[in-house]
Amino acid sequence: MSGTLHDYYSRSHPDHDHAHDHEHEPPNPANEHDHGPPGEYEIMSRAMQELLEAKGIITAEQVRKRMEQFDEEFPYRGAQVVARAWVDAEFKKRLIADGRAACAEMGAVLEAERLIAVENTPEVHNVIVCTLCSCYPRALLGMPPTWYKSRNYRSRVVFEPRAVLREFGTVLPDSVTVRVHDSNADMRYLVVPMRPPCTEGWSEERLAGLISRDMLVGMTVPKVPD
């Protein structure tokens, strides 16, 4: 149970610095505790959780299991789905036609997400945003990066997507159509980037390693590292 004296002392230990870059990083397992005293909203969230557990509405185990899924399972699925689409053209067609059905084939049953997969081509580059809140296919990609939830991204990417793309180091010629999707209602979106050249014969696992969350919302594109 959280909140013992031990918890406070654990909170005093600085969490390890983890490298910041655009690329997807798995959550740092050393960040098991935050340092400093809990803020008002943390206390509020803990309080609500304990009240609901006491009332039998949820269990601590359910919350713990969900945390585990968000940390260890969800963040990797999107890249796996795209890697499959890269090696299997018929799967890619099915993915584009019906995202939820295609993910179910791979054992990723998306209970809440009505997934629409949009494909990058040499003519069209897709960008995803939720201007109204931060909708994101969480069961496929885990939690969104902080920039995706930020005011600056949500307000600007709809009217100046090319400028925002440049901030991520992605420059597209005017000949390519930039197609922005505002995820504003019931659907959730996944960008299927173009498979990079020089990856012939790669396994799905190796291909998935090229794919980060930034690419799956269209801010960057996959490349084979030099």
Partner: protein, 114 residues
């Protein structure tokens, strides 16, 4: 013409901080809690979104997990899952758990107790 504080598409804003700053432990737990509650069907996404929008003027100064936590509180109070008094009492109990023992009195204790 904006009726909802979160309806910000098209507003001028500064450069995007393209670094992902990750989530603190409490945020990951709050997210899992919210997800677990949603699965029970007690709350729905639309109610939580609406409760966030109803934050009005405060919205723009709040961080993502402050917004989502506030919204959850609003909806659970509306549904009578707990009363405001019960929530305050539980929050006071949790604050007390984080008190530093006397011999290690620190200025942080005051901030927690505010």
């Amino acid at each position: 013409m904006k009726t909802i504080p979160s309806d910000i598409g098209g507003e001028s804003a500064g450069p995007v901080d393209t670094v992902d700053h990750g989530m603190k432990y409490w945020e990951r737990q709050a997210n899992a809690f919210r997800s677990a509650v949603q699965i029970t069907g007690l709350t729905c996404t639309d109610e939580l979104r609406r409760a966030a929008e109803d934050l009005g003027e405060c919205y723009k100064d709040m961080h993502y997990f402050e917004i989502t936590t506030s919204a959850m509180r609003t909806v659970l109070l509306e549904k009578g899952v707990f009363t405001s008094q019960e929530l305050q009492a539980k929050m006071a109990e949790i604050r007390a758990r984080f008190n530093v023992p006397d011999e290690m009195e620190s200025p942080l204790k005051q901030a927690v107790r505010k």
